[in-house]
């Protein structure tokens, strides 16, 4: 029986076909799926913030784009999947609320997350095969390592397979 593995906020997990891996309610956060087509092993990390070096309280590595992706790659490496075999699909980074004038970086955190995730993946030489990022709505994602398809569902919109 295939299971659906749920990943929480600032959390990660790995999954092997026929199981699927999912995270619910991505807002400005980003879900990064890393997968290997041959071994059908995949992993998902749900990050909240772009940069661990800018924050003092950074013990939880899975909270940040830079260290979160590193941890996931490490985990996949330990399962015998080489970084060179990994591809990525990413979703999230929305701007949930819009404010006319705002002194905080509330409105732009999604965009910053997108940039940070892409930069980190590029530095590791991991190609992004598909993405559904930005705009102003939340996303729930399910990844199937068998087909390598990422299903993105939203409130009041048709689901999307990328």
């Amino acid at each position: 029986m295939a299971k659906s593995i749920v990943v929480g906020i600032a959390d990660m997990n790995v999954c092997k076909a026929p199981d699927t891996i999912t995270t619910i309610g991505l807002g400005s956060c980003i879900g990064i799926v890393l997968y290997d087509r041959i071994s059908k092993i995949s992993g998902l990390v749900h990050i909240m913030l772009p940069d661990s070096t800018k924050i003092k309280q950074n013990q939880n590595k899975l909270k940040f784009a830079d260290t979160g992706i590193e941890e996931l790659v490490k985990k996949l490496n330990s399962m015998g999947v080489g970084t060179a075999f990994l591809c990525a699909k990413i979703a999230g980074g929305a701007k949930m609320f819009s404010f006319a004038s705002s002194t905080s970086d509330l409105g732009s955190i999604g965009d910053k997350n997108i940039v940070a995730v892409k930069r980190k993946l590029m530095s590791l030489g991991i190609r992004i095969e598909a993405e559904d990022v930005g705009l102003n709505y939340g996303r729930t994602i399910v990844f199937d390592p068998e087909t390598c398809q990422l299903t993105v569902t939203n409130v009041g919109r048709d689901k999307k397979i990328i």
Partner: protein, 206 residues
């Protein structure tokens, strides 16, 4: 910083509870005047939540909710978030306008925004009166989406300083229609300390 931040003393919890009670109580009175109906408030909960547990309070991460967020600034920084389930939004708009008004229409949304504005305004006003702090609040912004996505906004602010979120949560029931709404105040720990100091309590831990 560190583990001590995740504890909250009984004194601090009681004081924040009472603030939430008075804040939400005033907000509810304004709403009851506006709707000319009876309104019942439940005592507020004050607790420190794990990010992943926060979503379950409003019905799980994939429940569709209406969220209205306002940024509070001045002597303390916080976010006030007003959350309604879809059914509750429908009933609230029905009570305020008439039953044929579609809650998701521009008119319905505008009505919900206005209600949130009044609630948030009276919440902030009572915080100011009680604490003597100068607090401003911004024009609220509305969003209909998954609870998880909406709550990720205050969670991200929290994530910068902690792995947990402190939440003052008030719930109310309007008239015979049972409209359940939540007003959450989420703030960074430092602002809670400022607020509690003003009230003569050492801080979140003392």
């Amino acid at each position: 910083m560190g583990d001590g931040k995740e504890k909250i003393s009984d004194n601090a919890r009681n004081a924040l509870s009472e603030l939430g009670n008075i804040g939400a109580g005033n907000a509810a009175t304004s709403l009851s005047v506006l709707l000319s109906t009876k309104l019942v408030m439940s005592p507020p909960h004050v607790d420190i939540y794990d990010f992943n547990a926060l979503e379950n309070i409003v019905g799980g991460p994939d429940a569709t909710v209406v969220g209205v967020l306002s940024l509070v600034s001045g002597d303390m920084d916080a976010m006030l978030l007003f959350i309604l389930g879809v059914e509750d939004a429908k009933n609230l708009v029905g009570q305020l306008m008439d039953e044929n008004t579609d809650w998701s229409s521009e008119m319905g949304m505008s009505a919900i925004s206005e209600i949130a504005n009044i609630l948030i305004g009276s919440y902030v006003a009572s915080l100011e009166t009680l604490s003597g702090l100068k607090i401003r609040y911004g024009q609220p912004s509305l969003c209909v989406d998954m609870a998880g996505s909406i709550l990720s906004v205050p969670c991200i602010e929290f994530a910068k300083i902690s792995d947990k979120a402190l939440l003052i949560n008030s719930q109310f029931i309007v008239g015979d229609k049972e409209i359940n709404g939540f007003i959450m105040m989420v703030s960074e720990m430092h602002s809670y300390d400022v607020l509690l100091n003003k009230l003569g309590i050492g801080g979140i831990n003392g």
